[in-house]
């Protein structure tokens, strides 16, 4: 028996050639092309999905950030408004106080003036009363005093006594 395993037989070479090329052509058309395309498409879709997820995440983060920003701004604004309101309130209270004080002072001033007037008027009345009374008294006293002649002469002499002719 000869062992020519290292010697290719023409028939097998021919059939291998035919079979392999046929297999290559058929598989290329009916298997590899659709398979590679499908795998490529799937990979692309997965990549797209991942990219869009990433984008959505970024968008989400952006929105959250924006919300936070808005919240912060709103809070700041609220604080400002509250502060302003407080200031306004203080202002109003202070103004009112001033006004009240001024008004009070004015009233007191007026009252004092009135009182002074009243007092002056009352004093004037009392003076008049006192003067008329004293006049009356004086008239009555004089009347009484000068009822007798001697007394009148005594007084004149007295008075003349006092008057020294110098």
């Amino acid at each position: 028996m000869s062992f020519d395993i290292g010697n290719p037989s023409i028939g097998l070479v021919f059939w291998t050639f035919v079979a392999f090329l046929l297999l290559l052509l058929l598989l290329r058309k009916f298997a590899w092309k659709p398979i590679m395309e499908a795998i490529g498409e799937r990979e692309k879709s997965i990549e797209d999905a991942l990219t869009s997820a990433e984008k959505a995440k970024a968008e989400m983060a952006r929105l959250t950030n924006e919300n936070e920003q808005l919240l912060k701004a709103a809070r700041a604004e609220r604080d400002v408004i509250l502060k302003e309101a407080k200031e306004l309130k203080d202002q109003i209270v202070a103004d009112a106080k001033h006004l009240a004080q001024a008004e009070g002072a004015k009233l007191i001033e007026q009252a004092r003036k009135e009182i002074d007037d009243q007092k002056k008027r009352a004093l004037a009345e009392v003076k008049n009363q006192v003067s008329s009374l004293s006049l009356e008294i004086a008239r009555k006293v004089l009347q009484k005093e000068f009822e007798d002649e001697r007394k009148q002469e005594a007084l004149v002499s007295d008075l003349l006594k006092d008057v020294k002719l110098n």
Binding site: P8, S9, I10, G11, V13, W15, F20, L22, R28, I39
Partner: protein
């Protein structure tokens, strides 16, 4: 999620593979034993013919004109001869395992050494002169097995392609999910790193080479009918594959590739040495591919068959368990080698293509 059932099924499938391989080894042993006894009984004159492991092994790893099933039964295969007078078609069963000559239309043919078809002259001897003019294009066991693998590949991958078409961008399922990682492996670990961005054009070739070699390696490991042919361990097959690689590599070679071969970057007076060396390199790369695949697969088959032969060499049943244990080990190893050699062949093909299409800056 509960993955226990998955491990269970893995364990079960491992046991199944183990059982099948054991059966195969046993069948192989029985097969060889019957062949041996038949050989012994057919030569009645010698009461107990010496068992020749070399003959048995060579017969098993060589091509044949019929597909042996068991004992004396085999499937006849068509013989196609191209003679100087025209084509001859007949079934290999006409030779009755080489015991009879076949009277063809143009010549009388004889099956010599169970595989060589030669012309017989009127005197009953082999006509060497006429035999040289006969070209044997028979569908031999290897050819038939190769056709079987081609059909299998076509069925498997067209169905997978259908699955891709039907399921679109959804996750793979069934056979598709088994083969997708392999396809992606060829693309991402073989083609892309070695060829670069121009890899897509060569994907069909690389995938076909990979799966063709792999399935033929696997079929060769089955010792009974649908397998048993040593296709990828035949130098004719590896020669064709290497030739295709040679053609593809050189036809896709760009100007840098040819400049590297014909005008290498060495002083001009070295050209008489460098150019022949580079040209030898062009041939030797695919040549190494051819020899590597052929030698690896053939060696694996020879080792397994040698281990089985031990039983008959020692003529003892006691050696059988030892022998079978080794055969089993070798079979599992060959399962690895089957994928490994397909991978190496494809990887080197991609590497050679990559070297040919590489752009220099």
């Amino acid at each position: 999620m509960d993955f226990r059932h998955f491990f269970d099924s893995k364990k079960i499938s491992f046991i199944a593979i183990f059982a099948v391989l054991t059966t195969f080894s046993a069948v192989q042993a029985a097969d060889t034993a019957t062949a041996d006894t038949i050989a012994a009984t057919s030569h009645g004159a010698h009461a107990e013919e010496e068992f020749e492991p070399t003959n048995m092994i060579m017969e098993h790893i060589s091509d044949a004109h019929d597909w042996h099933l068991w004992g004396h039964t085999s499937i006849p295969l068509p013989v196609i001869l191209y003679t100087d007078k025209g084509f001859e078609f007949f079934l290999s069963s006409e030779f009755h395992h080489g015991e009879h000559d076949y009277h063809g239309t143009y010549y009388n043919y004889r099956l010599v050494d169970k595989k060589k078809i030669q012309v017989v002259n009127t005197a009953g001897g082999v006509d060497e002169e006429a035999s040289k003019k006969v070209w044997d294009f028979s569908i031999t066991k290897n050819v038939a097995s190769m056709f079987l693998s081609v059909i299998l590949l076509l069925l498997v991958f067209t169905s997978v392609a259908q699955a891709y078409k039907k399921r679109g961008a959804k996750a793979p399922k069934g056979l598709q999910s088994f083969l997708e990682p392999v396809i992606l492996f060829v693309r991402d670990d073989i083609a892309r790193p070695n060829i670069g961005h121009k890899y897509a054009r060569f994907m069909p070739l690389l995938l076909t080479i990979f799966f063709f070699i792999w399935i033929n390696n696997l079929l060769g490991l089955i010792p009974i009918f649908p397998g048993a042919a040593n296709v990828t361990g035949n130098i004719a097959v590896t020669f064709v594959l290497a030739l295709i690689v040679l053609v593809v590599v050189n036809f896709s070679g760009n100007k840098y590739y040819w400049k590297h071969i014909l005008l290498p970057d060495v002083p001009w007076w070295l050209y008489p040495i460098m150019i022949p060396v580079e040209l030898v390199g062009v041939i030797s790369k695919p040549f190494a591919l051819m020899i590597r695949l052929f030698a690896n697969i053939t060696a694996g088959h020879i080792i397994i068959l040698s281990l089985i032969s031990l039983i008959f060499v020692f003529k003892s049943l006691a050696i059988a368990p030892v022998s079978l244990a080794f055969v089993l080990f070798m079979n599992v190893l060959e399962l690895l080698v089957a994928a490994l050699q397909a991978f190496i062949f494809t990887l080197l093909t991609a590497l050679f293509i990559g070297m040919a299409v590489e752009e220099h800056h």
